[in-house]
Amino acid sequence: MSTTVDDLQAIADRVVAQAGTGEQIEAYVSRGGETAIRIYEGELEHFASAQSEGVGIRVIKDGRTGFAYAGTLDPAAIAEVLADARDNVSFGTPDEFAGLAIPDGVAQIPQKFWDEELAGYPTDQKIALTKELEKLTLGMDERVRVDEANYDDGWGEVAVATTTGIRESGRGNSCYVSVSTLADDEEETQTGFGFSVGDSPKEFNLQKAAREAAERATRLLGAIKPPSKRTTVILDPYVTSQFISILSSTLNGENVAKGRSFFAERMGDQVADPRFTLVDDPTNPLAYTATDIDGEGLAARRNVLIENGVLKKFVHSSYSARRMNTVSTGNATRGGFAGSPGVGCLAMQLVPGTHTQEELIASVDDGVLIQMVSGLHSGVNPVSGDFSTGASGMLISNGTIGAPVREFTIASTLQRMLLDIVAIGGDVDWLPSRAHGMSLVIRDVTMSGT
């Protein structure tokens, strides 16, 4: 990485140096901090600041894997973690593919992950800008109340070392603001949200966050439950981001190897509309989840997964790659020191189209603009492909926005939705998520209401 974190690297190196004969060891050491500020009715509701650190150690011997972690960097605790991980090895089933990543010579693409201005940003200014966000939001519409206005930032330092020659460290920081709104009209209340992301607070667009939060809530006032029918949906960029994120598990090489992906036997097939090209590109500095290394310490890289609708590639860690007789795509994922690596997309992006959302709406005779979805975890099954979510939004008729609608679902299957894509917007929004978003038009989706 661009900046090294020498003390954490030294801790990781010391753990790895203890490896015995025939033993592979990986040490992942991290430290981080965060600030959370919440404003309510012009006052500071809470201010939380914290620092945490920990170590995760993976030991592999004779094809068996053991893992242990602790939320401390106390030397005695680290020794205990190594002992626990070694003890856990004996309970694993031998797996010929088990092993750590081996440096593959792929060069890292330098990016800037640390912002000095954010690191030194004064607390009172963070509080002031959050108050400003609340005030701006309230000023957008007299029917709007603010449930909460938040500022969040975080920083992290990480080092990883392995007996196979991986040795990487680095640090990064990030920040965002968000606001939740309530809009009232007599007995009815609707909700909205808005946010803004930046390398530092000076990049925030508070006006946009406030406007979107107010609009999302107010435009649902008076919403009715629509009749059930098959229709065309336009997913708002935020919803598209959630939709794309779901696809990660179907393109995950480990899921493919274990028979958990409906794409398993489809390599080279037309699985999506020809307009659909999906890449995973953590080397794009615009992506919120951009990174230069993956969860195993290999260089992050750009991978084209679906090109013009044709399935081209699955993402792999070193383990899933060995199982499928291929090479890692630099897609090991890691949920901090408390977890061992998995596989997943890191920064998903669709190649955008050229139309604005207004133009896309104008092209739809009869449909619905989906502003929000709910229950993605309970109504979408990425193994079977069944897709069903709660939704709210606005009806579209003859190319114009009509009545607001809520308390309905949209349903299809993931397989069909990919083929039923009619248009991809050019309105790219780099959201604080693993996937960016833009307007996405999908036909033949079932809307269930009355």
Binding site: F47, A48, S374
Partner: protein
């Protein structure tokens, strides 16, 4: 249950100094929450025990309140120096001026055990835990040749907590959890289907004396096999019969979250201002009970140090109370209800549910199905989500069937149902007499997950929207 050690995680005199430091900038309240959690988990996938994991999470969160402002800091350094530094940071965050010197008089340690632990999981050999996974794998694969993949997980944790505050509260609890889950994939002509089953209680390894791992796995496998024949779920509003147990998720979403006092206080609940009013069918009595021994949401004390309680929220359809944490209750000059919970020492407590359920009615569950001409029978619910301000909520159907002419017929593919909380509660027209709790759940709110239980008898909602694709 008596804890295996009576000595608190941190000495009382250190705690008193830390709490005093928390009030040093003029705050009227300071609190320390200390956690020491040891956990073991093991995962089997694709026929192999992939990994056994040992974990240790230990730290303290310090909360300081001045007026309407809360300052919070947490640390994994449990030395007096580390705790004082965190207290100073929290106090600075809630600074109101010069608070002077405070003396904190702590009460003796309060404990309120609700679960009886027979066999602490850390006394059980890891080999026995791993063996459970292998038994589940074999049992699931034995159900049918179409079972193509099995993943099984085991997890246990022992969490010691200590909570003390400047009002003198000084409480401790030992929270033991043991869990097992099985996920299965079946492959058929129409593609793959999944089955899932889980078991979790706030008890130790004796959970496996009372529950059969093979049966857990077989049920998951049967669910996947049944769904191979499933047809697309219907689209639109119809009668819905919800089976005992996991159906409790409906109430967790339809009214549970909306009855949390923090949301009510900010005017973001559809149930605000409805105290004493009829908000549900008279058949509905909703209770939140943190004392329910062995259930996933059972706790001795909540994460603000108060004894867990059994609270009636809706009685015969009438709203009788909201759920309260200490801070909101203190502000309102009333008693808290044992519902202040947090995910870990790194999080601020909020109003949270524990075990939320609906009590028995009088109908025979078979009669409820027989009384339904055309509808959907949901044998197993998945998770859900609610917008508490509008009351709109969804929940997933993991295992569901059509009801035709009073009989359960064909299995249905998965999907969400959607409804509006107050409307659905009023639309419950039949309540069964077969109450049961569902499986272990994790409730998410404001980025924090806490373990909860849900339960209900078989019941009918006269109209809900099924989010399928079939006409």
């Amino acid at each position: 249950m008596s804890p295996r050690t009576d000595s608190p995680l941190i000495e009382p005199d250190v705690i008193a100094r830390v709490l005093a430091k928390g009030r040093s900038t003029g705050a009227e309240f300071s609190e320390i929450y200390v956690e020491d959690k040891r956990s073991t988990s093991a995962g089997l996938d694709d026929g192999k025990v992939e990994q056994v994991t040992s974990g240790r999470d230990r730290g303290a969160g310090i909360r300081v309140i001045a007026g309407d402002t809360t300052g919070f800091a947490h640390t994994s350094d449990l030395s007096e120096r580390g705790l004082l530094a965190a207290a100073e940071a929290a106090a600075a965050a809630a600074k109101q001026g010069d608070g002077g010197v405070h003396t904190i008089a702590l009460q003796p340690v309060f404990r309120h055990p609700v679960n009886t632990i027979v066999q602490f999981p850390d006394t059980v050999a890891k080999a026995r835990k791993v063996e459970l996974l292998q038994r589940a794998d074999i049992a699931a694969r034995g159900v049918h040749g179409a079972i193509v993949q099995v993943s099984a997980g085991y997890g246990d944790s022992i969490k010691q907590i200590l909570i003390a505050n400047s009002d003198g509260i000084f409480s401790a609890d030992e929270q033991v959890r043991t869990l097992m889950r099985v996920s299965v994939i079946a492959n058929g002509d129409a593609g793959m289907q999944t089955g899932y089953n889980s078991l979790g209680h706030t008890i130790g390894f004796e959970i496996f004396d009372e529950n059969d791992v093979e049966e857990l796995a077989i049920r998951a496998a049967q669910q996947a096999i049944t769904k191979l024949q499933a047809r697309p779920a219907p689209s639109g509003a119809m009668q819905v019969v919800i089976k005992q147990g996991s159906g409790g998720v409906l109430f967790h979403e339809a009214c549970g979250h909306g009855l949390e006092a923090d949301l009510v206080g900010k005017g973001s609940s559809v149930y605000r201002g409805k105290m004493g009013e009829l908000v549900a069918s008279p058949l509905v009595t909703v209770i939140d009970d943190g004392t329910m021994a062995g259930e996933w949401g059972a706790i001795g004390v909540d994460d603000e140090g108060h004894a867990s309680q059994k609270n009636t929220l809706i009685e015969n359809g009438v709203l009788t109370d909201y759920m309260w944490d200490y801070i909101r209750a203190r502000k309102e000059g009333r008693k808290q209800s044992g519902n202040g919970r947090r995910q870990s020492y790194a999080d601020l407590p909020m109003v949270r549910m524990t075990n939320t359920f609906v009590t028995n009615g009088s109908e025979n569950p078979d009669d409820i199905i027989r009384a339904t001409d055309h509808g959907v029978y949901i044998a197993k619910l998945g998770g859900g989500q609610v917008d508490t301000a509008s009351g709109d909520f969804v929940f997933g159907m993991v295992e569901a069937y059509l009801i035709e002419n009073g009989e359960i017929t064909e299995p249905l593919r998965e999907g969400n149902l959607i409804g509006n909380g107050p409307q659905v509660l009023k639309d419950i027209d039949l309540m069964g007499n077969d109450f049961a709790m569902g499986g272990p759940g994790t409730c998410g709110k404001d980025g924090q997950g806490v373990p909860v239980g849900d339960g209900c008898p078989t019941l009918r909602v006269k109209s809900m929207t099924i989010g399928g694709t079939a006409a």
